[in-house]
Symmetry: C2
Subunit: 447 residues, 2 copies
């Protein structure tokens, strides 16, 4: 009974939906405080280190290198409970989250952090022929397509078919698109070059299509130019001011700057162009008064809560945070982490009857990697490129992986793979809801 | 033209179907000899180190830890060509292998090494509820079922349902069944015990059902007894002389030694009981005169060739080798490797107009691991158990992994996982042709 006396009020129940960077940061920050009891709900049993997902897609890392069981991250925190389930709805009056299957979980405070999925801007028919990159399954789908295309090219007797199989189009020149195109360039120029007899993988054509005047459009122009140079060294054709007007199994149609249309025949098209809020954002909008932006993200108050609902917070990629008419914050991990930590601080302050100043993002810079020893970094106070930026990128991401419970082994694998230019995880496995891309079609029998 | 003069006869074309232990051993042994040109056909792009597949199924290792791209294993061997494709038929008159899709590959010598798949002894309806373990996809299916069952048990409010979710039945007490049951015991007793709040994973029920009087029926009785003791320490109920008479989504029905039937309610049933030859064996029997045994394996001559077809060899698990009425050799990696090496030696001898004595298997012993620091080994000249056997097992398997091109990183992961009793690869990902096991059902949405 001592515990009852020392904390006469039963702990406040914080329900966090989504175990991404934002959700986990909040859970960790609240977990040591007996004033709170935390439930983390995620439809996956693992936290995914999404910034490195493109390395799974290109066979550099295995999924489990960048995915840690949520229970493992939050183990030995007695006031944190982990529930594997998909939150599909909520009841803001009874203060309950409703899971797929009907189970209900009551909350005092709700923290929505379910992130985004990729989006085809209304062209959902493109999904079939241009997979995106938000989940492990997506990454495995990309991996299968990329490596199956080289296998099929090796077998093909028809030069035109071979050229089509060895053409890759990456749609979208943001960080994901740049990193994907660079990684495919590394594969073609270095990793695979000694392993085929009929094809010369160095003749692979890689097209990166971006609508804006430069790749990495949120970066300063000098860094974007450096990234373009590094991409070109890896054999990537960078097409800026270029729009994709059609995608099918044969390739893409592009509208280039002079207004004409070009067809690029390609067996592998990868989508890195747009995102849309996950469905829980719509559930929120259905049940409480709030505004969604064009991408379905939830507009939040300056303290990340919802108007008229101080007990509901939205953070990370799912949130549209643009106080005082400023530009909305980008959907990157540091924003989510800072927002998760902010909400935890705010809740602790409220417990003591205090308030907290508005959330403020401390931008510590951003980085993108193009290939081995090639990266660009905007550190705010300076711009770095080349090998310096690359090592800095490795350092930052390793620290991130370690923070989220990934193990020392990832470092070993990285060191080894970069040392040997090897690519250790390029299994062509069947994937769920397998799309019948021609390159992969032959390899799905399971006899 | 110098090369033409120095080898006036064009090299003999050896086509190897299947890049398992047998096929790769033959390919490597033939690859340095200019008298041969080798084509390795496999429907996968990777060689799988099958003895460790159960570690993928139980989340200890990632698939890419035990799977190496075939092109990588055989890189820089200019006379070896790798083709990813499924060999479905042959034309023994024109000496051609026919791939799925219709492509044909001519041969001078054909080496069939396509192995086995698992078999339900005619009860194919059990496949749905009792996945087997022969491919990476199978292992991921098992992994999903095992970890999803614990997740669902944690959420369940119904004690009977919880008990069913925390009951695992492994059918078959050979090496795979023993290793699987032991690994699940390790998970329940150690790895997961601090990670759940509602359930006590140490109360997991694990039933290992075996029809023979002992587990590991091919092992000496003292070692089988040691294995049973180790299993019991990990909480495994070992039921010998027990037959499975029915499997469905609710569990299994067992016929126990006293002749009565028992029902074990279990959400997860894993099949480790029987194998059947892969389909290429049937293709051989359709096209050339040869005999298949009850499991569909191809009966071979004392030199591993087929009767009346000295240019066709069958090796490894696909072969039934029982000269002079002896017992057929077991389907284990050392047999396949020795047979692959033998055929390479035989072909080299034939080139010199010589012959070779019959194939003879040199049995260097066998080992099975039950849990951390628990294994049994039959080294022929002595029997080892416990921690000694375990370290020996680790040593032997690491050497094997290294031989097949797996990287130093696997060792690091192993060392780390065993040191920390961690289980690093227990992602619940969707799997291809997903069976609708109730435990996994909720987790397949891809939003």
């Amino acid at each position: 009974m001592a515990s009852t006396e020392s904390s006469p009020v039963s702990p406040q129940h914080i329900v966090i939906v989504g175990a991404g960077f934002g959700g986990l940061y909040a859970a960790k920050a609240l977990s040591q405080d007996p004033a709170f009891r935390v439930t983390v709900i995620d439809k996956r049993n693992y936290h995914l280190f999404q910034p490195l997902l493109y390395q799974v897609a290109t066979g550099k890392l295995a999924p489990s290198d960048i995915a840690t069981p949520i229970r493992h991250v939050l183990r030995r925190r007695p006031n944190v409970r982990v529930v594997q389930g998909a939150a599909v709805d909520l009841d803001p009056v009874a203060r309950k989250v409703i899971l797929n299957g009907g189970a209900e979980i009551g909350y005092d405070i709700l923290l929505a952090a379910t992130g985004v999925k990729h989006s085809y801007f209304g062209n959902d028919a493109w999904r079939e022929d241009a997979p995106g990159l938000k989940t492990v399954e997506h990454a495995l789908e990309m991996r299968q397509r990329i490596f199956s295309a080289f296998e099929a090219a090796e077998l093909s007797q028809d030069p035109a078919e071979q050229a089509r199989l060895m053409t890759f189009v990456v749609v979208g020149g943001g960080p994901t698109g740049v990193e994907l195109a660079g990684a495919i360039g590394e594969l073609a120029q270095h990793t695979l070059k000694d392993e085929f007899h009929h094809i010369d993988t160095r003749r692979t054509r890689i097209v990166l299509a971006e609508g804006a005047p430069q790749v990495l459009s949120s970066y300063p122009a000098d860094l974007a130019a450096a990234a373009e140079r590094s991409l070109k060294k890896l054999g990537v054709e960078v097409l800026t001011r270029t729009l994709v007007t059609h995608i099918d199994a044969d390739g893409v149609r592009l509208k280039v700057p002079d207004g004409t249309e070009q067809v690029v025949e390609a067996s592998t098209v990868l989508w890195a162009a747009g995102v849309r809020a996950s469905r829980f954002g719509q559930a929120l909008a259905n049940r409480v008064q709030c505004t969604l932006d064009r991408a379905g993200k939830v507009e939040v108050n300056a303290d990340l809560s919802l108007p008229a609902h101080p007990e509901i917070f939205v953070i990370g990629d799912l949130a549209h945070y643009a106080p005082d008419g400023a530009a909305a914050l980008p959907g990157v991990a540091p924003v989510a982490m800072q927002q998760g930590a902010y909400v935890a601080r705010l809740l602790k302050a409220r417990q003591r009857g205090r308030s907290l100043a508005s959330f403020r993002y401390r931008n510590q810079g951003s980085m993108a990697v193009i290939g081995r020893h090639a990266a660009v970094g905007d550190l705010r106070f300076m711009h770095v490129t080349g090998i310096t930026a690359w090592y800095l990128w490795v350092l930052v991401h390793m620290m991130g992986l370690i923070e989220f419970g990934n193990r020392v082994v990832v470092m070993t694998r990285w060191a080894w793979n970069y040392l040997t230019r090897n690519s250790g995880s390029r299994l062509i496995t069947s994937v769920p809801e397998a799309r019948t891309g021609h390159a992969g079609r032959a390899h799905r029998s399971r006899d």
